[in-house]
């Protein structure tokens, strides 16, 4: 997977943390840093350092979402794949195995009981996470996590994933705005995000499906991000209608029904309908399959945390769009969604009622256009091919 940066490409900070771990392998670490600073990447490199030094060490990796588990698994070298389980915190708590090392990604999303349990097992802990990306209720506060596990904090200060413009766009939604803006930047793709307005939901949907499917078909790792499961269902029903497909497989979820089964059924329906899009999250869908089959990943803001894609679409940013995060401000959730693109990010909205968050964005870091203009461009003239 492209996200796993090889050892020779790690920056000096990242190398410093690995050296620090090697010097004191019995210390518990917390690797913190802004979105795109390479925390998960470093976690995998520390796993390799552990295995190099202690080949028989029992190591487990814990991650909050299935999509992130999928991504982390893809980064583990083949020789360790079977010996290093990657699991959800729930599964970890059910399992009483004693681990020498537990590597925890998105540590800020976990609850008290996880840390109490982890502490009682006596495992060494290497944690990664950023409090600016805390999007769940009733999670363990930062100070308590540090107290429970006696963690040494190491901060990554270089943002590799985001372009400067994407950072400027996301900054108003970051709790630590000044720190985020002052972080050093890598030398990646410097593309301005695009803000597209549509005159109606239908027009926006038409533009979105054409562009997103086009990117996926050409081999770009593409994702459409929506705030909630309700939005996912609404979008899929409308997409089916637009594409002339029966949407009966996008039914409402039964109470108590397992989400993985529910979304697998939807993905099955999408496949049968010939639509190049699959839901990713809650155990359904796969990053690997989406890359090989050239399909668009449809994912909630929550499930997208910890992941990145070459191209992301954040559509339907209208007034009624609810950013569901309980007591956590919607800004944090939006911040997570805004920081998932490695190359190009598209935001779109209905021009008659834009979401208030769009008013907080510095327009100088965006390219603005309308869905109608964009569609005309692709059909109007041969030179628009370029």
């Amino acid at each position: 997977m492209k996200w796993l940066v090889p050892y020779t490409q790690l920056d000096s900070e990242q190398l410093g943390i690995i050296q620090s771990f090697k010097a004191q392998p019995n210390r518990n670490l917390w690797i913190t840093g802004y979105a795109g600073s390479g925390k998960s990447v470093l976690l995998i490199h520390i796993l390799l350092a552990i295995k190099e030094r202690y080949p028989n060490a029992r190591v487990a990796i814990v991650a909050f979402t299935h999509a992130l588990i999928d991504q982390l698994r893809s980064g583990i070298p083949m020789e360790y794949k079977t010996g290093v389980p990657v699991m959800t915190p729930y599964k970890f708590l059910l399992d009483s195995t004693s681990w020498d090392y537990v590597l925890v990604d998105e540590v800020q999303d976990l609850k008290h009981e996880f840390f109490v349990d982890l502490n009682s097992r006596g495992s060494k802990v290497i944690a990664a996470g950023d409090m600016n990306q805390s999007i769940y209720d009733n999670t363990c506060p930062e100070d308590d996590i540090i107290d429970y596990l006696d963690l040494d904090i190491h901060r990554l200060r270089i943002i590799h994933r985001l372009s400067r413009n994407a950072r400027m766009l996301a900054a108003p939604f970051c709790e630590d705005k000044s720190g985020f803006m002052s972080a050093s930047m890598g030398s990646g793709v410097e593309l301005k995000p695009k803000l597209i307005s549509g005159r109606s939901y239908e027009e926006e949907l038409r533009w979105l499906s054409e562009r997103a499917f086009g990117y996926a078909e050409t081999g770009y790792h593409t994702a459409i991000l929506l705030p909630s499961h309700q939005d996912i269902r609404y979008f899929l029903r409308n997409l089916c209608e637009q594409q002339g497909v029966n949407s009966s497989f996008v039914r409402d979820k039964e109470p108590g029904e397992w989400e993985v089964n529910y979304y697998n059924e939807i993905n099955f329906g999408l496949r049968n309908a010939g639509l190049p899009i699959r839901y990713l999250g809650n155990g359904a869908g796969s990053l690997k399959v989406s890359a090989t089959e050239k399909i668009v990943n449809l994912i909630t803001y929550h499930s997208a945390k910890g992941l990145d894609f070459e191209v992301t679409f954040l559509p339907f940013l209208t007034k009624e769009r609810y950013m569901p995060s309980g007591n956590i401000p919607g800004e944090s959730l939006f911040f997570v969604a805004l920081t998932r693109a490695r190359e190009q990010m598209f935001l779109s909205y209905n021009s008659s009622n834009p979401h208030k968050f769009l008013g907080m964005i510095d327009r100088s870091c965006l390219v603005t256009s309308t869905a109608a203009e964009e569609q005309l461009k692709s059909k109007n003239s041969i030179n628009d091919l370029f």
Partner: protein
Amino acid sequence: MNKMYYLPLHIINFSTQYRMGCISAPSKFIMNELNAAACPAESISYFSGLFKEESDVIFIGFSLFASDKKTGYTTIFSEDVLTVHPLGIIAAQMMPQLIDRDLISEPVEKNLREKLISFRNKELAGRGSGFLMRLFGIEDTTFLDGLGKIWVRSLEKYMTDQNFVPATLADYLMTYERTRNFNKNAVGILEDTASLIKQLYGLPDGYHPAPLMGTETLFPENSEISPEKPIGSDEGENHHDWVYLRLKQIAEVRKELLDSKEISFISVLERVNSNRVFTEFNEDLRAMESEPERWFQVIMIYLQLRSKIREGIQADNAVRFWFFIKDILMIMPKETITALYLAGQRFGINEFVPLFLFMNHPPKLKPIEFPPAELPLEHTEYRPARNYWNDSSKTYKLREGASTEYYKQKKQSPRKSKEK
């Protein structure tokens, strides 16, 4: 208050020496004042190496030191270090926990910071292109002299502001990014180049040829491309029409390439070399003062290199990168050298670390792909696809045993032998 003296140091260098009780430095590099005029660039290079992040370099302030006239060295005891000055407020915030925070004082003045950053940028860029030239045994780069100055100007603009409005071809090369879902193979690079050319010539989206349209200014202000030569071979044809019609022809080449499935970079490049439309663009772009003549191809090679460098040159793909460049060097030496120079400058030396080993240890040839056993034996002798031997001072040896004789002795096909 005692007079203060200053010395630039890399933060790791300082941290290491500080813990050992003293910092040692040649006396001639001690600065009397903390400003740009008092700081020769070579002292930065000498003491801080070449830093990557701004937080890597500090200036230490002290009032007591002991100089040894015989050795020309000065010793500053750790307890006499009074202040540590970062390059800026942001650098101070980013500074790793290697320094006692109480030592950190106000940042250096703006002029000094800018002098150092500018020095760093130029030095890293120069080392990047210089290394690539040495790596591929390229000695004659005099034809790049004129281009070098133009490129450095664009690079400086880009380093300060990634959103600067491009005006010259060099600017467009610096700022161009793919904004469409172009193909992810070599045809995508052709599409990128056409897109860059379209932007350079200022052809608006959705433009249609209109024979009666008035003449418009083709070249952006301050363009490096000479506006003296009118674009378009047919009289009465306006500039936009001229570009439009040629882009249309490129679109046809693109389609043919995609249909033919011959989409390796070399095959796309060869197709470009043999097509008249690209020659016409090159004739127009040749108004650049320096060589080479085929700028369309230079842009393509540069964008391809940029893409590969951005993906990361790693231990497992460095050999392929090396051979890729050797291949295109064979076909288009001047264009490739130019693109290498631009890419080396653009990314700086840090991106090429995995290639350092290749300077004195050229990569071994890849495991040989043997032909089927039924072919006559003379066909089983390994020959590389292209002749790497004659184009460089370096020679590359065949893998031991990879010869006809070896397999004659084995009396069986190498493939069968391998399968066993």
